[in-house]
Amino acid sequence: MSTPKMARIGSPGRPAAFALAALLIVGAFAVNAFAPFVVVGIYTYFCVTLMMVLGLQMFMGNSGILNWTYIGFVGIGAYAASILSTAPALKSMGVPNMYPALVALQIPVVPALLIGGVVAAVIAAILAWPLMRLSDAVGVITLFAMLIVFHVIMTQWDNVTNGPRTFFGVQAFTTIWMATGAAVITLLGAYFFRESSLGLRLRASRDDRHAAKAMGINVVGVRYLTFVLSSFVAGVAGGLWAHYITSFSPKSFYVGEMFVLLTMLVIGGAGSISGATLGALLVTVMREGLRQLEGYLNNSGVINFEVYGLTELTMAVLLVTILIVRPAGIVGGQEFRFPRIGGKRKPAEAADSDES
């Protein structure tokens, strides 16, 4: 053994994460300055959706467990933040049966968003206690069942959600800057989480649960903590979403919307932040493009029948194709790395000469 040196480990994914964060900010400025009003809206919506996908990635991408209930936590955040931030007069009009105590409440939007996240996290903390002890397949089925339970509660609890009817009157608070800021923070947060010791333990447990246990990793514990954290992100993102869209109903927090988030995550690559971001971007662009195309086809009379569901169909085909051709997603299981400029790095060269 020669004199002790300090090994340089490095973080190969870090440049990509920071580059993506910078791109988001530059994109926001560019869109805000040059693009038409509609595009500013799409970009804002994209950033909120990206925040949701990244929150989903934190748990699902690192643990390998398909979290169907995720969109339910988005819904909890949306309702909680909206109820807290909307003026009493508007609430008593929009939700006639709401509990008087809830009607009277009104706090500023930013704390309302955070409390929305906390409410989602607390509910997650209670439910995950038994859930994270289930084995993988059973756990996924239970999570799906939970989504149905959440949906039934949201559509039936008249006094809180206005039942299946639309909850309206929410302030249009979420600007492009708010949404971009939240997306950037979540992106960096999700990246550092992935590289953190908690994230690493979780990824190890995804690879091999028993080996992870043998290495002294508390598999249930790391899954539990991450599930709660991921639900907090879902809750805040839900609040932001509600304050952008301003009126919504429980159907926005069900299988259809969950499928969109899952498609985004799986197409790009659930295992990495760069994959989640790329997937969210691709699917958003595709959805908007197809929606335009669908509108054009139906209005221009180029074809003599109504086109319907083009977006869903294309997304489903894309998802299946990706799962067959590239199951780990476009980016793959590892974080995207920029190719090195200036050839190989030193240790590789040293090892090459060793082998000869």
């Binding site: 053994m1 020669s2 002790p4 040196k5 300090m6 090994a7 480990i9 490095g10 190969p12 010791s197 690493l200 333990r201 990824r203 190890a204 995804r206 690879d207 091999d208 028993h210 080996a211 992870a212 246990k213 043998a214 290495m215 002294g216 990793i217 508390n218 295992g271 299981g333 590892q334 790395r337 240790p347 590789a348 040293a350 090892a351 060793d354």
Partner: protein, 244 residues
């Protein structure tokens, strides 16, 4: 250092160990030999807490380990390199090593340790950012050993480190085991490859269907006991022919 006394273990109704005893002293390399199903891996699992034995005692540095959780035993300084390696295939080599260091993590020491691992296993430095699953079998075995060493084990237990490796890789692994022994690492080695294991071991135990058949130095083992009888259940006559 490690004293196992009268250990009984079973998988359901099947008794795997019928009261075995063994001892590992500090700085020793002890080989535990025997055929498939003799109870070698069961012994290791019982020591590191993955399997709860039915009876007997496992004492490490004066402390009773029976009933302790695997992570607690790992913290006490016993590290197992499991059979079939069990590295984390989607994590990079660097991340695998970081997990190994979790039980005693200190940032600066971690980096020194890493440098030490690179000296022992140059290939790991070259592959540092590659996923563990892309490594060859031998490289994965090295990674598994390096990962175990990152936790500064007082006792390193290797379960069939040569299993499924090419002959040159087997040589490398045994050279490495010898190097670790010379560095003063206490090792309990389980091997099918009895001949190779005996060449590096200070002492050896031979298990046969859950009972201790023999214990002694490799030289004693070779004079007193037919390796062939251990592995094939037969005896070797003067000409070297094995009759079952």
């Amino acid at each position: 250092m490690l004293t196992v006394k009268d250990l009984y273990a079973s998988y359901g109704a099947i008794n795997a160990l019928h009261g075995i005893s063994l001892e590992v002293n500090e700085g020793e390399l002890v080989a535990l030999l025997g055929t498939n199903g003799a109870g070698k891996s069961t012994t290791l699992k019982s020591i590191c807490g993955v399997l709860r034995p039915q009876g007997g005692s496992v004492e490490f540095l004066g402390e009773d380990l029976i009933g302790k959780k695997p992570e607690a035993i790992l913290k006490k300084g016993i590290s197992l390199v499991p059979e079939g390696r069990e590295i984390f295939t989607s994590l990079s080599v660097a991340e695998n090593l970081r997990i190994g260091a979790f039980s005693c993590y200190e940032r600066d020491r971690y980096r020194y340790d890493l440098e030490e691992m690179f000296a022992l296993f140059p290939i790991l430095e070259e592959r540092l950012q590659q996923p563990g699953g892309l490594l060859s079998g031998g490289e994965q075995q090295m990674l598994a050993i390096a990962r175990a060493l990152m936790s500064h084990p007082k006792l390193l237990m290797l379960d069939e480190p040569s299993l499924g490796l090419s002959p040159t890789m087997v040589d490398q692994i045994f050279d490495l085991i010898a190097t670790l022994r010379d560095r003063g690492t206490t090792i309990l080695l389980v091997e099918q490859n009895a001949e190779r294991a005996l060449r590096v071991a200070d002492r050896a135990y031979v298990l046969k269907t859950g009972s201790m058949e023999f214990s002694g130095t490799p030289a004693e083992l070779e004079s007193e006991l037919d390796i062939a009888s251990v592995y094939f259940g037969g005896t070797k006559d003067g000409s070297g022919e094995v009759t079952v």
